[in-house]
Amino acid sequence: MTDRLEGNNATANSEVTRESLATDHQVSMVFDLNKCMGCQTCSIACKVLWTREEGEEHQWWMTVNTQPGQGTPKAWEQMGGGWNQNQPNPGHQPTREEFGGGWEFNYDEVFYGGKGRSVHLAPKDKGDGTTKWGMNWDEDQGAGEYPNAYYFYLPRLCNHCTYPVCITACPSGAMYKRSEDGAVLRDEEICQGSRFCMEACPYKKIYFNYARNVAQHCILCFPRLEVGVAPACARQCPGRLVFVGMANDKNGPIHKLVHEWEIALPLHPEYGTGPNIFYIPPLSPYRLNDDMSIDYETPRIPPEYLESLFGPKVHAVMDKLRSELDTVRSGGSSEILDTLIVYHWNELFGPYTTDPASLDRRPETVAVSIDTSRRTANRS
C-alpha cells in the first residue's frame, strides 16, 4: 500500500522475543512410536476431559494420525508458521473445513426414525465442509505398495515449545509460558479471538472456540500436574508408551531418552520452536524383494521419510536402536530397551504418579482460573 501513515513504535517496546521465552523448568513428554497402535485412547481421554462444551466439538487437543498422511488439520505441514532465523514466519490459519470433525450424526433418523434399513449412519452435512475431513480421516492409508506398504502412528499435541512463537504473535498478551513447568497457556479473559496464534503455530495445534470467541489448545493438564497426576493422554495410554517428567531431572527417563541416550527427537525441529514433546522414531521390518526374499539393507519405512519428520539425527537414532536390539538378541542386556519396555507402569510418569481416584477432588473439576501473578516474567 502506498497511503499508509507511519506510526510510532511505542507498543513494540513490550514485544516478546524468541530467546526471552525459555523457562528453567520444563515438563516434557516422550512418545515411543514403536508401541503406538493408533487406538486413540489418548485422544478420547483428552476429549472427554477438556473439550466437551459447545464451540469445542471440532477441537481435538490430542490426535493420532497415520503417517505418511495429511493429518489434521489437512496438510498442516504446508501451512507455515514457526521461526525463520529468529523472525516469526507467516502462517495460514486453519479453517473449519481443514480441521473437519465436530460431526453430528443422524442417530434420530437411523435409530428412531424408522429408516434403519434404508439410511446409513453418517455425519450430518452442515454445509461448512467439516464432514469432508476429520481428525483421523486418512487412518491406516499410509504409503507404499504390497508387500512393502507401510505406515505408523503419530500422536500429536501442543509441543509446549521452549520458544513458542504463538506467544509472540498474540497482540493482547493473553498467552504466556508458566515458569514452574513450561506449560504454554492462555488467559481466556484477555484473549480477544484474533487468532494470530493459530497462524503462527507451525504444528497447527491451536483451535478456535466459535461460541466463546477465544482460541484454545492443550493445557498440558496443568491442574493434574499441580496435584501430582500425569496428563490424561499419558495416564490412559494402554500401550505404555508416553513418558512424562521434568526435562532437567537427570534421573528421570525424559532426560535419559532425550539428552543422555539421544534417541528421542522432536517433530520438525526445523520449525525452530524447540518442541518439548519428543518421539522415539519407529523401526520397521525390512523390505521384501520381488522374489519375496528379505532385503536386509532397507527398512520398509524409508529413512528419508523419517528424516523429513524428525531431522537428520534420526539416522543415528535408528542405528542405535538396532544396535541395542542386536545386543539383546545376542544375549546381552540393554538399559535403553528395558526403559522403553516399561516393566512398571508408574515408571512412565516421573513425579506425577498420584492416582486421581485417591484425591478428594478430581483435579479437572478445579476451575481453570489463571493466576496472572504466576506468569513467567517474559513480558514487560
Partner: protein
C-alpha cells in the same frame, strides 16, 4: 463537532431521533504497519492491503450520563486473493469508539497523551467500546464490551499495572448496542454510561472489515482526535 442532548427515549437505539444532532464524515486510514505490536503481525501484513474502510459517518449525543454514538459506513468487498487461500469468512465486521484517559502513566505527565492513530500507547491507553458482529453460535456473548487499548490490537479488559497504580480510572457501565446491516451499509448505535459524559473533549473511531480478515491492529482508524464541543451542558 457539537455534542448535545438527544430528544426522547433511548430505549431503542436504532429508532433514536437524531434531528438537531451534529453529524460528521470522518476520514479513516489503515493503522500503521510500523506500529503493529509484534513482528509476526508486521511480517504477515507487510504487503497486504488492509484498512479497507476509508470513511464513516459519526453522530454523537448525550442523554444524561449516557453517551450515544451512531456510526455508519459502507462495507467494502474483501480481498479476493485471500478467499482463494481457503479463508472461509470467519472474522466478522467490527467497530469501536474510544476516548483518551486523562493522564499518562508513571508520572510522565510531560509526554504526549494517547495517540488515536495507534489506538493508545503503552504509556497512554484509551478506553475502547468495541462492538463486533456475531456469528449465530455466539448468541451468549455480549455484542459490545469495554476494553483498554494500549496500541493496535493491544486490547485488554483491565488497565496494565503501571497505569492502574497511577490513578483511579472512572468506570463505565451499561454498554449497549444495536446494529443493522442493509445492502452492505452498516448502522451501529452504541450507548454507554460515562461518568463525566458532558466533559469529554475528544474521541476516535475504528472499523474492521471482517471479510478481509481485519482484526486487532489490522483495521481502519481516525488518524486525529475528533474534537468535541459540549453544548447545552447540565
Amino acid at each position: 463537532m457539537n455534542v448535545s442532548e438527544i430528544k426522547g427515549s433511548t430505549n431503542n437505539l436504532l429508532e433514536l431521533d437524531w434531528s438537531g444532532i451534529d453529524t460528521e464524515q470522518v476520514a479513516l486510514v489503515p493503522i500503521p504497519i510500523t506500529s503493529q505490536p509484534n513482528a509476526y503481525i508486521r511480517t504477515k501484513w507487510a504487503d497486504r492491503e488492509y484498512g479497507l474502510t476509508r470513511s464513516a459517518q459519526l453522530s454523537l449525543a448525550r442523554s444524561g450520563n449516557k453517551i450515544l454514538a451512531r456510526l455508519e459506513w459502507d462495507k467494502v468487498d474483501g480481498n479476493a486473493s485471500e478467499k482463494e487461500d481457503g479463508f472461509d469468512g470467519e472474522f466478522t465486521d467490527a467497530a469501536a469508539i474510544f476516548f483518551p484517559l486523562d493522564f499518562v502513566a508513571n508520572g510522565q505527565g510531560d509526554q504526549p497523551g494517547a495517540a488515536p492513530l495507534t489506538i493508545g500507547t503503552h504509556q497512554a491507553p484509551v478506553r475502547l467500546w468495541y462492538w463486533r458482529d456475531q456469528l449465530p453460535i455466539q448468541r451468549d456473548l455480549p455484542p459490545i464490551k469495554e476494553l483498554y487499548a494500549s496500541g493496535p490490537g493491544v486490547f485488554r479488559p483491565n488497565l496494565n499495572e503501571s497505569v492502574r497504580s497511577n490513578k483511579d480510572v472512572a468506570t463505565t457501565a451499561s454498554l449497549s448496542v444495536q446494529a443493522l446491516k442493509s445492502d452492505n451499509h452498516w448502522t451501529v448505535v452504541i450507548s454507554g454510561e460515562y461518568e463525566g459524559a458532558n466533559n469529554i473533549e475528544k474521541m476516535g473511531i475504528a472499523i474492521w472489515d471482517g471479510s478481509n480478515q481485519e482484526r486487532a491492529g489490522i483495521g481502519s482508524v481516525s488518524p486525529q482526535w475528533i474534537g468535541l464541543e459540549q453544548t447545552g451542558r447540565l
